[in-house]
């Protein structure tokens, strides 16, 4: 028995079938791409639509989520954003930017054994609130922070 494949299949619940199948080499990335990428969520233009597409309804507040980002970004092309959730059972993290053309920037699914602690970099067209949406133990929570974007000087 192929233990690697079995392990991969076992964690299927949290991952979405296609991600797992790709990892196990059972389907091609193209097949997964068609089915896997959450287009409705990434296309959503308002917070309500994005939350609805993500199945998050009306998320609660939580002091167990930290959004680590600068108050000011010198360049909106690269804004560091880190999300740390100490909520037990953190299984999903999404980063949303209110004033971007589409709000959802990135989402992550965390299997058991992967703590809620993720950092990445996003683009911001202008000063805006940035939201971290966390799903833990089946419930959604959200925190936000305003990040100022300066256009910087000239050159480049």
């Amino acid at each position: 028995m192929n233990t690697q494949r079995r392990q991969a299949l076992k964690s299927g619940g949290a991952l979405g079938l296609f991600g797992v199948l790709v990892a196990a080499g059972l389907v091609t990335a193209e097949e997964a791409r068609a089915a896997g990428w959450d287009k409705p969520a990434f296309d959503a233009k308002t917070m309500d639509d994005a939350l609805k597409a993500l199945g998050a309804g009306k998320p609660g507040e939580s002091s167990d989520i930290m959004l680590n980002a600068p108050d000011i970004a010198e360049n909106g092309a690269v804004v560091p954003v880190g999300v740390k959730s100490s909520l037990p059972g953190t299984e999903f993290i999404a980063i949303l930017i209110e004033k971007n053309p589409s709000m959802l920037a990135a989402s992550f699914t965390l299997p058991d054994g992967t703590p809620g602690d993720i950092s990445t970099r996003v683009k911001m067209g202008q000063t805006s609130s940035v939201y971290a949406l966390v799903k833990a133990d089946g419930k959604y929570f959200m925190v936000s922070k305003e990040i100022k974007v300066t256009l910087g000087g000239c050159g480049g």
Partner: protein
């Protein structure tokens, strides 16, 4: 086409910290070229990280993730010598997979 990723994976005995730099344009689809024509969107859509074959993170990116994306996360377990693999696909079907040994 796309260049290799830079992956670092370091174990502290109980957890492994993974840092990934991906080489990708992450074109938004909102910019215009000098002739005024819209440059089509070209961005990573999905990525998966595995540790010795087990998925430890899966992610979805929209065009708002920065060019040459950076990603940092941790997972429990992992020992020196283990393998961590990161794979991505983009909206044009390009894909890339790179592997690193945990240090």
């Amino acid at each position: 086409m796309a260049g290799p990723m830079r992956i670092r994976a370091a174990s502290n005995g109980t957890e492994t910290e993974v840092k990934v730099l991906m080489s990708h344009e992450m074109e938004t689809g909102q910019r215009k070229d000098p002739s005024g024509a819209l440059i089509p969107a070209h961005h990573i859509t999905e990525l998966t990280a595995t540790h010795n074959g087990r998925v430890v993170l899966s992610g979805q990116f929209g065009p708002a993730v920065s060019k040459n994306p950076y990603l940092q996360f941790r997972f429990k377990g992992g020992a020196k010598g283990d393998k961590v693999t990161v794979s991505w696909v983009d909206n044009k079907g390009d894909k890339r997979s790179d592997e690193v040994v945990v240090s």
